[in-house]
């Protein structure tokens, strides 16, 4: 690596420095746009006691779900979980701490974390279990709760295309939480399907500027589909 070149050549190098007890923010929605090889690398490393911030927690044998059997996740902050049996077992037994967070609040927490905003007021969750222990305030007759931002020691991100400088382009709904996660990591690691030379991406079409990206790696992806739904009249 030299200058702005963010490309690394191995997954080991990509996740170097990840230690027990760290917080990792992951992009993805369901199994769509998840950094699947970076997750596999965390499994291989065997890092434990992690706090994971991700909209979901994968399925039993794919995505973040693969970190469950070896008890690598201590706590997960997510909006919708329980698509896998091991997750449910660990949550019910208290082995895994789960902080359910509304999806929009979760996205905004990442955005705020990456933008230097320590907390924000939102109407989402007012008067619900989510509001417990949080400051409440009224603006123009409406009730809001104060939600703290989230930052990660690492952010793991999946993009479609990048140039060597780490400028990123996402594809379709695989974008989801990825651009937000990218801003909120002290070390942001991105895996992509294609890496081009600087100047080859139209600057007007870049979704995430390279300033947020620390390491970039070229991967191959399974892209498993969670709910394969087709129309019959075709």
């Amino acid at each position: 690596m030299a200058g702005f070149d963010k490309v690394v050549s191995s997954y080991e190098e990509a996740m170097a420095g990840l230690e027990d007890g760290m917080t990792v923010i992951a992009g993805g929605f369901g199994l769509c746009g998840i950094p699947e090889n970076l997750i596999s690398e965390i499994k291989r490393k065997g890092t434990k006691g992690l706090t994971l911030v991700s909209n979901n927690c994968g399925v039993d044998d794919f995505g973040l779900g693969i970190l469950l059997p070896d008890r690598q996740i201590k706590k997960i902050i997510a909006s919708y979980v329980g698509e896998n049996a091991e997750f449910e077992r660990q949550m019910m037994s208290g082995e895994l701490e789960v902080e359910l967070t509304p999806q929009g609040t979760l996205a905004e927490k990442m955005r705020a974390g990456g933008a230097g905003i320590p907390a924000f007021y939102t109407a989402t969750g007012y008067g619900t279990p989510v509001a417990e222990g949080k400051e409440e305030r009224e603006f123009d007759g409406r009730h809001y709760i104060l939600e703290p931002a989230i930052k990660g020691d690492f952010a793991i991100v999946k993009a479609w295309k990048a140039d060597r400088y780490g400028n990123l382009v996402f594809r379709k709904t695989a974008r989801n939480f990825n651009p937000l996660a990218a801003t909120a990591g002290k070390i942001t690691v991105v895996e992509v399907e294609e890496i081009v030379e600087p100047g080859e991406l139209d600057p007007d079409h870049i979704h995430t500027p390279g300033i947020y990206v620390n390491r970039l790696i070229l991967g191959t992806f399974e892209k498993r589909i969670e709910q394969r739904t087709v129309r019959s009249d075709a």
């Binding site: 929009g104 905004e108 619900t128 709904t173």
Partner: protein
């Protein structure tokens, strides 16, 4: 007769207006897309980051990078746009979505809604539901009026953990179309062949009945 799932969707579809941006929850709300009136343009928002959701793909069109909030493979309608999750919820929280349709376990006379958790049984999370109910002005809740055992889901006070407080104004059940105002349920319409008495019997919260209650039309 209680409304079928399809009839519930059909009745909700009558509330659509040309040019509406609409967010449909999982389950019955999703079916509303099948009943958009001819000649009317409606754009569906999927909170994972798609405005202009199209129909399900053919086998050849399937794309792992293109799903809806229910994680189903979908296509994009003409004029669709894609954005990240924060932008998606900026639309929702900023009140830019014209109509939101979602399901619930319980609603009460104060417009409270419980839809995401049954302690000890179902703890999967709220997904985007808390954002949707807090951010939208025009929300229709679709649900069955009572449980299989005849226990009302339209209550004086919700018993389950809340998804949102004081945010629901319209509820369509398999028996009735109800408005919530001033701390009371108001009966607007009844399902064809369902009597006012039947609805009263299965409504736990205070229900106001003014004049003759019309049957829903399909």
């Amino acid at each position: 007769m209680a409304l079928s799932r399809e009839q519930l969707a059909q009745r909700v579809a009558q509330e659509l207006q040309d040019g509406y941006y609409v967010n449909l929850g999982i389950g019955i709300p999703t079916l509303v897309a099948n009943y958009v009136p001819e000649g009317m343009e409606v754009m569906l928002q999927s909170e994972n980051g798609l405005l202009g959701m199209g129909q399900f793909p053919t086998e050849a069109e399937i794309d792992a990078d293109l799903i809806n909030a229910g994680k189903q493979t979908v296509t994009m309608a003409t004029g669709a746009s894609i954005f990240d999750s924060a932008e998606s919820f900026a639309m929702i929280r900023g009140g830019h979505v014209d109509l939101t349709v979602l399901g619930a376990f319980e609603v009460d006379v104060n417009g409270n809604i419980a839809s995401y958790m049954i302690p000890g049984k179902l703890i999967k999370g709220m997904g985007g539901a808390m954002d949707l109910v807090a951010g939208a002005d025009n929300i229709i809740v679709t649900m069955t009026h009572a449980s299989k055992h005849g226990v009302s889901k339209l209550l004086s006070n919700c018993t389950l953990p809340l998804t949102g407080k004081g945010c629901i104004k319209k509820v369509l059940t398999d028996l009735a179309f109800i408005e919530i105002k001033n701390g009371k349920f108001h009966l607007l319409e009844r399902a064809p062949g369902v009597s006012v008495e039947e609805i009263v019997k299965l409504t736990d919260g205070e229900l106001v009945i003014e004049g003759a209650i019309p049957e829903m039309k399909f």
